[in-house]
C-alpha cells in the first residue's frame, strides 16, 4: 500500500507562484496561475501540484467551504454523518474534475458549504469560538475518520491539489471555471515517496494556505512547540507545521503578518544590535518569547489569507523569489519566467531580501 506523508520523510525542491489583484476584484481566471506555474515545470517532478483561490465562491461567501478527499464510501458516510450532527449543509457536491491522462488514482473529492450549528446554551454562555470549532472539526475528521481528509476549510476560498504536475492538476480541476482576486500555486519535487494527494501543497487551515519551496531544518523544534497548543502534525511536512505556526501567531496571538515575519524569519542578533533601541527591544522580545517558532533552513513561502497574501524568504535567502507589479496586479514567483509568462511587459521585477516580507492586502 502507498505510504502516506508522515510515514516516510520527503525532502523537496519545488516551485511557487502567486498573483493578486489589489483592487479585490475577482478578475484573475484560474488559467492564468496554471500558465504561470507551468513555466517552472522542471522544478517539480510530477508528485504534487496544487492551487489556492480566494474569492472563488461569492454565492457561498458566508459558509465554510470544506474540500474533502475520501478513499472509500465508508469514509464519506461517516464524515457526512459527523458533519450532519454539527453543521447545516447549505450545499454539497462532488468537485467538478475532468478525466486527465496524467492524473491517476483519484480519491472521491467532495465539497461542502456549511454553517456550524451552536446550541442556545452555547450562545447564551458566549462560548462560541467559531474558527476554533472549525479547526477542531478538521483535526477530528482528519485524525479519527479513516480515509477522510479535509484539505480546505476556509470561507470564499478553496484549495485544489493532487499528485501530478501542477499544470495537469489545474486542468484536472477545471480551474479555468474559477475567477479569484488572488491565487497561489505550487509544483512539488518530493524525492523519496510516490507522494499523496493530501500531502500536496497548498496546505490549508481555515483561510490560511501555504505553498512552500524549501526544506526547513527547524522542523522538530517548531513541531514540539506547536503541538503543545493542540495542533496535530499528522503529515509531518514542513508546510503543515508552518501553517499551524501562522494560525497560532495570527489567530490565537493576534499578531499581524509584519510581526509574524519578524518571528519566523527573525533578524540575526548582529542586526538587532545595530537597530534603534525601540525596534531592537521589540525584536528581542519576539525572539525570546517565540524562540521555538524561528524557522531555519531554506524556504520561500506564499501565505494566502482572506484579503491578501504574504511572501517570505528565509533570512539567508537560500531559495529564489522575485516579484513585480503591473496595473494593480502583484506577481510573485520562484522564477521571473513564471511572471513574464502571464505578464510579458512587466517592468521592475525585483528580488526581496531574505526575511523581508512582501505583504499585499486588497482594498475592499
Amino acid at each position: 500500500m502507498l505510504k502516506k506523508e508522515g510515514e516516510i520523510r520527503i525532502p523537496s525542491g519545488c516551485a511557487i507562484s502567486g498573483i493578486i489583484n489589489k483592487t479585490g476584484e475577482c478578475s484573475i481566471n484560474g488559467s492564468s496561475i496554471v500558465k504561470s506555474i507551468a513555466h517552472m515545470h522542471d522544478r517539480s517532478n510530477g508528485l504534487g501540484g496544487g492551487f489556492a483561490g480566494y474569492g472563488i465562491y461569492p454565492e457561498y461567501a458566508d459558509q465554510y467551504a470544506f474540500h474533502v478527499f475520501y478513499e472509500d464510501m465508508t469514509a464519506r458516510e461517516e464524515t457526512e454523518r459527523y458533519l450532519d450532527r454539527y453543521f447545516e449543509m447549505v450545499n454539497l457536491s462532488r468537485i467538478p474534475t475532468r478525466k486527465h491522462p496524467r492524473i491517476k488514482d483519484e480519491p472521491q473529492i467532495w465539497r461542502y458549504f456549511v454553517n456550524p450549528i451552536f446550541t442556545l446554551l452555547q450562545e447564551e454562555q458566549e462560548e462560541i469560538d467559531e474558527k476554533q470549532f472549525i479547526v477542531e472539526t478538521v483535526f477530528h475528521i482528519n485524525t479519527f475518520i479513516k480515509g477522510a481528509y479535509i484539505f480546505s476549510s476556509g470561507k470564499n476560498m478553496g484549495v485544489f491539489k493532487a499528485v501530478g504536475f501542477p499544470e495537469d492538476v489545474g486542468e484536472f480541476y477545471r480551474l479555468e471555471e474559477y475567477d479569484a482576486y488572488s491565487w497561489t500555486a505550487h509544483g512539488r519535487y518530493p524525492t523519496n515517496t510516490p507522494g499523496w494527494w493530501g500531502g500536496a501543497h497548498p496546505f490549508a487551515l481555515l483561510d490560511y494556505s501555504i505553498v512552500h519551496n524549501g526544506e526547513i531544518s527547524s522542523y522538530d523544534a517548531n513541531r514540539r512547540f506547536i503541538e503543545m497548543f493542540d495542533y496535530k502534525c499528522n503529515l509531518q511536512t514542513d508546510t503543515e507545521v508552518i501553517t499551524y505556526i501562522i494560525d497560532y501567531l495570527n489567530r490565537k496571538q493576534g499578531l499581524n503578518y509584519e510581526n509574524i515575519a519578524k518571528i519566523i524569519a527573525a533578524p540575526f542578533w548582529e542586526e538587532i544590535k545595530r537597530m534603534p533601541e525601540a525596534e531592537a527591544k521589540r525584536i528581542t522580545l519576539f525572539r525570546n518569547t517565540f524562540a521555538s517558532l524561528l524557522i531555519t533552513g531554506p524556504f520561500s513561502i506564499i501565505l494566502g489569507f482572506n484579503g491578501g497574501f504574504m511572501a517570505l524568504n528565509d533570512r539567508l535567502k537560500l531559495r529564489s523569489m522575485v516579484t513585480g507589479e503591473k496595473d494593480n496586479i502583484v506577481y510573485i514567483a520562484s522564477e521571473e519566467c513564471a511572471i513574464r509568462a502571464i505578464c510579458p511587459d512587466i517592468e521592475n521585477i525585483w528580488a526581496p531580501q531574505g526575511g523581508e516580507p512582501i505583504i499585499v492586502r486588497v482594498n475592499r
Binding site: 513555466h39 535567502k317 522564477e335 521571473e336 513564471a338
Partner: protein
C-alpha cells in the same frame, strides 16, 4: 539563424541551438529554458527574453548576449567565453566560475560570485553594474569580482556578509562610503588609480557594451577587498 523560443522545451531548444549550422544564433522570446549554452561550441548566442536557470553553465568557447534579465546560477562553473546581460542577474551569479567574463548591466542577487576560483592562466572576472545582495563572494577562492554600484549613493552596494569564507581572489567595489560592518578576516583598502590597472580593460568593456561613460565610473572611489593573512583556508583548495 533565428530560433523562436516560445513554447519550446529546454532540451529541444538546446538541441536546436547546438545543431544550428551558423556561428551566430538568435533566440527570440526565450522564457525560462535552462542550461542555454551548455555544451555549445564556437557560437555567439543572442537571447531576447528571460533565459532560465544555469544559463551558460560549463560554458566553453562560446559567447552569450542577453537582452533581458537572467535568473539564477548564470555561468555556473563556466570555463571561458563571455556572458553579457543587458538587465539584472539573479542569485548565485557566476557560481564557481573558473574562467571567462560575465558582465551584468544592472543588479545581482544573493551570493554573487560564490566559490569563484582560479588556476594559473584561468582567472574568471565578473562585473556587476549596480548593487548586489548579501554574501557577495561567499567562499571566493580566486578570480575578480567587480561591483560598480551605479545608481547607489551613500551606501555600500553589497548587502551584508560580503566575503564570508573568502580565502582567495579579489573584489573591487565602487562606493562613496566604505563598507559597513566588514567581516574581520578581510583586508579592505581604498584604491589609488594605479591599483585599478587589473580591472581597467573590463571596465572599458562594460562601458562599451552598455554605452556608459568611463568618466562616470571613475568619479567615485573603489575599495579593494582581499582575504587577510593568517586565513586558514588559503591553501586548502589550491596554492594560490
Amino acid at each position: 539563424m533565428i530560433i523562436e523560443g516560445k513554447d519550446i522545451y529546454f532540451a529541444d531548444l538546446n538541441k536546436a541551438i547546438k545543431q544550428a549550422d551558423a556561428s551566430e544564433v538568435t533566440v527570440n522570446n526565450i522564457i525560462g529554458q535552462r542550461y542555454i549554452g551548455s555544451g555549445v561550441q564556437g557560437k555567439n548566442l543572442i537571447l531576447h527574453g528571460t533565459p532560465g536557470n544555469a544559463l551558460g553553465a560549463y560554458l566553453d568557447n562560446c559567447n552569450i548576449t542577453v537582452y533581458g534579465n537572467v535568473q539564477d546560477a548564470v555561468g555556473d562553473t563556466m570555463n571561458n567565453g563571455e556572458i553579457i546581460v543587458h538587465g539584472n542577474g539573479g542569485d548565485t551569479l557566476g557560481y564557481a566560475m573558473r574562467g571567462g567574463v560575465i558582465y551584468v548591466k544592472g543588479n545581482g542577487g544573493y551570493r554573487v560570485g560564490i566559490h569563484m576560483k582560479e588556476y594559473q592562466e584561468n582567472k574568471p572576472v565578473l562585473v556587476v553594474g549596480g548593487r548586489v545582495g548579501s554574501f557577495l563572494g561567499e567562499y571566493q577562492a580566486g578570480g575578480i569580482l567587480v561591483v560598480l554600484g551605479l545608481g547607489v549613493d551613500n551606501s555600500f552596494p553589497t548587502g551584508n556578509y560580503c566575503g564570508t569564507g573568502m580565502h582567495g581572489g579579489v573584489m573591487y567595489i565602487r562606493s562613496d562610503v566604505p563598507p559597513q560592518n566588514p567581516l574581520p578576516h578581510l583586508l579592505i583598502r581604498e584604491c589609488a588609480r594605479e591599483d585599478l590597472t587589473e580591472i581597467q580593460p573590463f571596465i572599458k568593456n562594460y562601458c562599451s557594451y552598455f554605452n556608459i561613460l568611463e568618466a562616470d565610473i571613475f568619479n567615485k572611489p573603489f575599495y579593494k577587498i582581499t582575504p587577510g593573512g593568517g586565513n586558514h583556508y588559503n591553501t586548502i583548495y589550491a596554492h594560490n
